[in-house]
């Protein structure tokens, strides 16, 4: 009966863990205090191999990065298949591997429900946005919104939305990286944060989008390969029979047969729909994901890249669910992975890491640790590049220099901006070490879905959108998402310590997105200026370009 006591202690923690798990999936991998582990030599050696290989790529990429186009979009010559892997890589953060498997480990079927929400945004992005993004875009998504609207206000808005998302996401990744590395490699938190920050600066400053893309592609392959291997090794213990695995998991898990059914996680339909909207539309407003659509040669390749990305991500989610379910049986019943009071060492999000040790020994644990670290590096690099582009291309070149900056000046500024973002990420990563950062990725998705996405999609589809409507409506969306998250249980109760939250739901998207769309619509309708009329007239030409690709950015001849 010792197991059931262990497991009931574990599930007592789940109430708290769920708060964390909600956001942990997309962002910070490890929450709360972690203990430094003994130095893990095989993990460090394998990670160093990855570092050496990616530095080699960065050197190669740096020699090919001459123009702004090379820096921002890898010259626009990436194929659909390569870009599909890179998008999948951006989407599969270390937290997906650790957070989703941890969620399945804790809550079974509910974890699976989550992954579905994460995937279904992709077909919509393909049907409604992919070819238009490619045909209208150049370096940042602000290029699309400001196609017929006024440059200065629109780029200010877009850069604010992009930077807010990038900084929140970066902090979550940095803190997650620090804790993960403490646990896996036995390095100090501060070293880990510095290491991630410095590697990220090297990749992006020297190698721009070419290096960032290839680092992402390599990492995606490692992650897909490592995950598959772990799932196969685990399944071999159950004769590759899902029914056998499920039966054993149900036997040892505290939830019993409920493990295989929807539980309390999404019981409240408003929260479920709001979360679904944040996942679906937030994805379509993440600047580092949108930027990937400008790296392919044409609309054809842009479409293909979503097809491949959806396939890889969907496959990976299924693998991760099998990992989580296997961990219940293999890890959850093995005392070497449990603390004295029956909790999983390092928390539920360590389920996949422990499983790798259980099925493949120290060497395989080392490999998976190195993959997790590589994953964080690749994701923060993509974020840094997206943030740097918002600063150099939107704020510096368009807002401050009014389009009069030379290409070399612009690249120089984006390199400086990368260094600035890297330092900021390191400092904030250290400052937030002991803070509860569970809300950050949720907030990033909320802002992406409530500020960036409405403005972007309306600029593509609605003739009546005006500069004023986009500018004020976009900022209203941004601040509504921010205010609702502050007033929600995640900050108001968990951090400020008030008894009851003013806004009862954890996910603001349903409300903040609706507010944003309504504000943009109402303000655009009220705007009777001559400028607004001119903008409506330009819509037809924008339609021709977005549908046919006439005048779209070509690939650089290399």
């Amino acid at each position: 009966m010792k197991f059931s006591r262990m497991l009931s202690a574990l599930s007592g923690l789940l109430v708290l863990g769920l708060l964390v798990a909600n956001t942990a999936i997309a962002g910070g991998a490890i929450e709360g205090e972690v203990e430094k582990q003994p130095v893990n030599v095989s993990a460090i050696v394998m990670f160093l191999l990855f570092v050496v290989a990616t530095l080699g790529i960065t050197y190669w990429a740096a020699r090919r990065t001459k123009s702004a186009k090379d820096f921002y979009t890898a010259g626009g010559g990436i194929t659909g298949f390569q870009n599909g892997l890179a998008i999948a890589g951006d989407y599969m953060s270390a937290a997906t591997l650790l957070g989703v498997s941890g969620l399945v480990f804790a809550k079974g079927y509910d974890g699976f429900i989550y992954t579905i929400g994460f995937l279904v945004g992709w077909p919509i992005i393909l049907f409604m946005m992919a070819e238009r993004l490619r045909n209208l875009g150049k370096y940042t998504f602000a290029d699309i919104v400001s196609f017929r609207l006024e440059q200065t206000p629109i780029r200010t808005l877009a850069a604010s939305g992009a930077l807010a998302v990038v900084v929140l996401y970066l902090i979550a990744q940095m803190v997650g990286a620090g804790k993960l590395i403490q646990l896996l490699f036995g390095l100090d938190y501060a070293y880990a944060v510095f290491l991630v920050g410095i590697m990220m600066m090297i990749y992006v400053t020297f190698g721009g989008m070419i290096a960032t893309t290839w680092v992402q592609i390599i990492k995606a392959c490692l992650l897909l390969g490592g995950g598959t291997m772990m799932a196969l090794l685990a399944m071999s213990q159950f004769g590759f029979n899902l029914e056998t695995l499920a039966t054993k998991a149900v036997e040892v898990h505290d939830d019993g047969i409920k493990l295989m059914a929807p539980g309390g996680l999404l019981a409240d339909p408003i929260s479920a729909i709001s979360l679904g909207m944040a996942l679906m539309f937030g994805t379509a407003g993440l600047p580092h994901i949108l930027m990937r659509f400008f790296t392919v040669t044409d609309a054809k390749e842009a479409r293909k890249s979503v097809f491949f990305a959806t396939g890889f991500v969907g496959y990976f989610f299924m693998v991760v669910c099998i990992i989580g379910l296997s961990a219940i049986v293999i890890v959850g019943t093995d005392s070497q992975f449990l603390t004295a009071d029956g909790k999983l060492i390092g928390g539920n999000n360590m389920a996949a890491m422990h499983l790798s040790k259980a099925v493949g020994g120290d060497l395989f644990l080392g490999f998976i640790s190195a993959v997790a670290f590589a994953t964080i590096l690749a994701v923060v690099s993509g974020l840094a590049l997206a943030g740097a582009s918002a600063i150099s291309h939107d704020l510096y070149a368009s807002v401050f220099k009014k389009g009069k900056a030379t290409e070399q000046e612009e690249i120089k500024v984006s390199r400086l901006a990368t260094l600035g973002l890297g330092m900021t990420a390191i400092i904030l990563g250290i400052l937030f070490e002991k803070q509860n950062i569970a809300f950050m990725v949720g907030l990033a998705f909320g802002i992406a879905g409530s500020a960036n996405f409405p403005v972007l999609i309306l600029s593509m589809y609605w003739r009546g959108l005006t500069t004023k409507g986009a500018f004020y409506g976009g900022f209203i969306g941004l601040f509504t998402a921010l205010a609702l998250v502050v007033l929600s249980p995640t900050i108001w109760v968990s951090i400020f310590g008030f008894e009851e939250a003013i806004f009862p739901y954890k996910h603001p998207a349903l409300f903040s997105m609706t507010t944003a769309f309504f504000a943009i619509w109402a303000i655009s309708k009220m705007d009777k200026s001559a400028q607004a009329k001119k903008e409506a007239l330009l819509f037809e030409n924008q339609e021709v370009r977005s549908q046919t690709g006439l005048g779209a950015e070509g690939a650089a001849a290399h």
């Binding site: 995937l119 393909l126 019981a267 409240d268 054809k300 097809f307 989610f317 006439l550």
Partner: protein, 103 residues
């Protein structure tokens, strides 16, 4: 890019036709995805016991497992359907439109 070129394309019946067909197709597929996904979310919210039924007499796996997996695969298949039609049929018409406009 000359204004004339844009005007010529806007008048091209092929362009008008393509624009309508493609929009309809994209909207249709989007609606199918949204109905399937939010339908699933509503079942999770209001009728979770439906998904909790055992797959067959005495099995541990529930009906929810294959349904969830089918939605993941379905989402991917839908992207395949769109890409296939857009990259062949739509792009062929598109090339003709650009050619006719004298690009």
């Amino acid at each position: 890019m000359s204004e004339q070129l844009y005007e010529r394309i806007k008048q091209d019946p092929n362009y008008i036709q393509l624009s309508q067909t493609r929009s309809k197709f994209a909207y249709l597929l989007s609606i199918i995805i949204l109905v399937v996904y939010y339908g699933f979310v509503l079942v999770v919210g209001f009728a979770p016991e439906f998904l909790a039924q055992p797959l067959s007499e005495g099995s541990t796996l529930t009906v929810g497992v294959p349904i969830g997996a089918t939605i993941l695969v379905f989402a991917w298949v839908m992207t395949g359907i769109y890409v296939r039609r857009a990259n062949k049929e739509f792009d062929t018409i598109n090339e003709k439109i650009l050619e006719d406009a004298g690009k």
